[in-house]
C-alpha cells in the first residue's frame, strides 16, 4: 500500500503494536498522521 501523501489514523493496541509505533511507521512511509490512538482490550 502506498502511504505517501495519505492521511492516516494510527490505531494500535497496548499489548500488540501501540498507536505511536504504528504512527511512526506511517510517518516514515510518507503519510501524514492526523490522529494516534491506543486501545486497551484487556
Amino acid at each position: 500500500m502506498e502511504l505517501r501523501g495519505k492521511k492516516v489514523i494510527a490505531l494500535g493496541e497496548r499489548d500488540g503494536v501501540p498507536g505511536p509505533a504504528v504512527a511512526e511507521c506511517a510517518r516514515r512511509a510518507g503519510a501524514e498522521v492526523v490522529l494516534t490512538l491506543t486501545a486497551c482490550y484487556a
Partner: protein
Amino acid sequence: MPDGVAASVLEDRIERHGATPLLGVDGQLLGAVLPAHEEDDTLTGQVLLENLACKATAALALRHLLARPGAVATEKVRYVISCGEEAVGDRYQRGGGNLAKAVAEWAGCTRATGSDVKAFCCGPMHSLMIAGALVQSGLYDDVVVLAGGSLAKLGMKFQGHVKHAMPIVEDVLAGFAAHVGRDDGASPMLRLDAVGRHEVASGSAPLAVVKALYTEPLARVGLTLLDVDRFSLELHNPEATEPAGSGNVPLNNYRTLASLAVIEKLIERDGIEAFVRTRGMPGFSPTQGHIASAIPYLGHALRGLTDGGLTRTMFTGKGSLFLGRMTQLSDGVSLIVERNPRRSNGGRAWSFEARR
C-alpha cells in the same frame, strides 16, 4: 439490621433526589444510593456506590489477610497503600482523595495511615515497589498493599458473552491485600535492586517495552529470563476476553516474552511453546484491570517460594495511561520475588519481606 425503607420512599428519592436505584435480578427495587450533593458530579449515587464497593472489597481482603495464622498484628500495620482504580474526591479534587485510610479504619488498623497510588492496571506493582522501599528505608516495618474491586467493570465485555449465548462471566468483585514486612529469614524476598521500569524514553515498540521490563532489570543483577521459574503477567481469564474478541491476553503476552528469549538467544524458536508452558500459566483472574495485573499469582508464588520448588518469580504490570488522554504513553513496572536464602520451615503465606 435497622428497619427497612418502604418502596414508596425509595421511589420518591429516586425521582425527586436523583438516587441511584439498586435492582434485584428480577427487577425488584431493593434500595437506592442517594447523591451526596445536588450539583457535584463526583458525588452522585453511582460514583458513591462504585467507591463503596471498592472500599468494601478492599477491607474484606485486608480483614482476611489479618485473620490468617501468623499474620501481622492489626495494630502493627502502620501504612496502607490502596491501588484500587476508583477515584475518591469531590468536584474540587476529583480523584484526589484517599481510600487507603478508610479501608484501614474499617479493618481496625488503628495505628495506620496511608495513601492511594494510581497507575491504572500498573498500580499494584508501583505500590509493592513503594511498600518495599518504605520498609527498606526503615520508615515503616509493616506496610499493606491492597485494592478493592471495580463495580464499573462488572460485565464490561457482556456484549461478546451475549453474542455467543454464554453467561456473563464478569460477575466478580475482586480484592487483594499483601503484607510487606522486614526480613524474617523465611518469607520470600522482594528484590528492590532489580525493579523493571518502563521509562518515558523507553518507547512504545513492543521489543523496547519487554526489554525495559525484563532484560534490563534481570541483567542488572546478573540474571536472564531463564533464571526465572515463573512469570506473572496480565492474568485475565480468557473465558471472559475471547468471546469479546480480545483474545487470550496472557497467552499472547507469554509468547511475546518467549520471543524475547529467542532474540536473546536463550532458547531456540521451536522452544517458544515450552517456554510459555513451563514459565507461564493460564489466565485465571477476573477481568478487573488492576486486579488481573500479575498480582493474582502472588499468593501462589509465596507458597511456591517457601514450601514449593520455586526459586524466583517475576511480576509485571502494565498500565494504559493513554486511556486518560493526557499522554500517548503506557506504563509498566516489573518486580522479582524470590526464595529467602535463609529459608527455614514456617514461612508466612500472604506476607513477604523487602530485601534490606
